[in-house]
């Protein structure tokens, strides 16, 4: 375990932002924290990053590196009047990193940023700023990276590309990665584990698959000839074009797929519909 937060609580005046929350993340693992706006995600990350003191609880980091943990809170905060290279240089120099020109170019390349852009960061798109923020978070080789809502403000291509970067960081570099979002779809494809926060409390925690399964009571099945399925009609599925929405749990879906196969229905996709109310139910 690289990082663990045990029984963390924090209040702002009369509001309890975090109430006895415990999370962990191991090397090579991507752990997601999902919750609505104001559920305590950012507070949790600020405490894990040690820029905020909890009212109670402890944060344990098993790393002997000079910078054990790096991250971005909310949006990446950069020196807008400097360019990407300049930002990296400032952040590297203040922590005493011995660097040269090639080092910075490698940092930029690692996060997929162009090395020939000299204009100030204020001209960058949100996606590029996120990448630069990650590059800065990665300076000094932390063992853990915490990314707070990294997909917010990104277009679909940006989201995909950033997801691939995060997967590479975990799988190829062996980093422990925490990411948060208020959109489950952004997390469930890349996270190994999920933690669900509601009003500062941790209401669900487990592997992504477990949580998804527990909250899935319907599936969207796509096939060119889906309308001809009689089994779906007995399940009272609703049809739209080549897609059918059917209420069936994860324990019964594999049986249904076998039935559809017997009906010669050529399924092209089967996507679980997570019931948000169930997911965010205490």
């Amino acid at each position: 375990m690289i990082i663990s937060g045990q029984n963390l609580s924090k209040s702002y005046k009369s509001i309890k932002a975090l109430d006895n929350v415990s999370v962990t993340c191991a090397a090579g693992e991507i752990v997601g924290v999902v919750g609505a706006n104001g559920s305590g995600k950012s507070t949790l990350f600020k405490i894990l990053l040690k820029v905020m003191k909890p009212d109670s609880g402890t944060v344990t980091i098993n790393s002997k590196r000079k910078k054990p943990i790096g991250g971005i809170i909310e949006k990446p905060a950069l020196y807008e009047y400097l360019n990407a290279y300049g930002n990296l240089k400032i952040f590297a120099s203040i922590q005493g990193l011995e660097t040269n020109n090639q080092f910075f170019l490698d940092c930029l390349t690692k996060v997929g940023l162009p090395i020939d852009r000299k204009d100030p960061v204020r001209n960058f798109s949100m996606g590029m700023k996120q990448r630069l923020g990650i590059a800065i978070a990665l300076l000094n080789n932390p063992e853990c990276v915490i990314l707070d809502e990294p997909f917010s403000g990104l277009d679909p291509i940006g989201i995909t590309s950033l997801k691939n970067l995060i997967i590479d960081l975990a799988e190829k570099e062996g980093l422990a990665v925490f990411i948060s979002s208020h959109i489950l779809d952004e997390l469930n494809k890349i996270c190994h584990k999920l933690n669900v926060l509601k009003n500062g409390k941790l209401i669900h925690s487990g592997t992504t698959q477990e949580l998804i399964n527990e909250s899935t009571f319907a599936f969207n099945i796509t096939a060119p000839n889906i309308m001809s399925s009689s089994i779906l009609k007995t399940h009272k599925a609703s049809f739209k074009n080549n897609q059918a929405y059917v209420n069936v749990g994860t324990d019964k879906i594999s049986e249904l797929i076998k039935e559809l196969h017997r009906e010669n229905i050529h399924i092209t996709s089967c996507v679980p519909e997570v019931n948000m109310n169930k997911m965010f139910e205490n």
């Binding site: 820029v51 971005i72 905060a77 009047y81 400097l82 203040i94 922590q95 923020g133």
Partner: protein, 276 residues
């Protein structure tokens, strides 16, 4: 620590607003110089009015030394007004842009970081005063020449050109120390208030009140000798006929102590604060 200071200097000079401020300061200096020149003759006429009955005057008193002296009289209000914007901005902009959070996410000591801000603020102040001194000498002497300096401070004092130069040089040095005090105060205010506009207002208010209180005679030994406002125009003592060095060193030492205390208070507050 050295890296932090270099980074601060780099950030300071990469921002356009620094150059606007420097340009404004030098433009103000030029304007003061020429308005001093246009008023200089009437000032001289008033000062020398009743000597004219008994004396002729040979030589030109409306020279570079008089103009630099007149610049000095107004400089120590205009200059800190602009300096505090830049220097406090080095802290408030980090709060506003949230780069302070990014910095604190790196393995950096909080107190060293804020100390580097203070150090760079002090250095910037000293460099600006130095360049103001150089340029005011160049412009004033270059255009208006040297000569005797006349000053009214309870008595009418005439200083020969070389003596005037000596006094003016030292006036810039002691004036610079007052400017450093205001710069340190502006950073401490920025640490407490965090927000840019509030900090400007509070720092400008502090400066204005200081200038008003400077002219008040409290008739109280403690206030007249220990209150910081009475220490910030120590440079004027250099134009007494006999320079009271003891008083000057006492005032300067006390002002340096106040500056150090203000800085330490700022560092402690910053260290205790939750950056997030």
């Amino acid at each position: 620590m050295k890296n932090l200071i270099i980074a601060e200097v780099h950030k300071l000079f990469k921002q356009g607003k620094t150059y606007y401020a420097i340009g404004a300061i030098f433009l103000i200096e030029l304007i003061i110089l020429f308005s001093a020149y246009s008023q200089g003759q009437s000032v001289l006429d008033i000062l020398l009015d009743n000597l004219k009955k008994s004396f002729y005057f040979e030589g030109n008193l409306l020279n570079g030394n008089l103009l630099i002296y007149l610049i000095l009289n107004t400089l120590w209000f205009h200059l800190p007004l602009i300096l505090i914007i830049i220097i406090s901005g080095s802290v408030t902009s980090e709060y506003k842009d949230r780069t302070l959070l990014s910095i604190m996410l790196q393995p950096i000591s909080k107190w060293k970081f804020i100390l580097s801000k203070y150090i760079v603020g002090i250095l910037f102040t000293l460099v600006i005063v130095f360049f103001l001194a150089i340029t005011s000498f160049l412009f004033s002497y270059g255009v208006f020449g040297q000569g005797d300096l006349i000053v009214y401070l309870d008595t009418l004092n005439f200083f020969e050109a070389s003596d005037a130069l000596y006094r003016i040089k030292h006036a810039f040095i002691f004036g610079a120390i007052s400017m450093v005090f205001y710069s340190i105060v502006s950073i401490t205010i920025a640490i407490i208030l965090e927000e840019t506009t509030k900090t400007w207002i509070a720092a400008a208010f502090f400066l204005i009140i200081s200038n008003i209180l400077l002219k008040v005679n409290f008739n109280n030994y403690f206030l007249d000798n220990w209150l910081y406002v009475k220490l910030t125009d120590t440079w004027q003592y250099l134009f007494y006929f006999e320079i009271p060095w003891g008083k000057i060193y006492w005032n300067t030492s006390l002002l340096i102590v106040y500056s150090a205390v203000t800085m330490i208070v700022g560092i402690i507050i910053f260290n205790k604060k939750d950056i997030a």
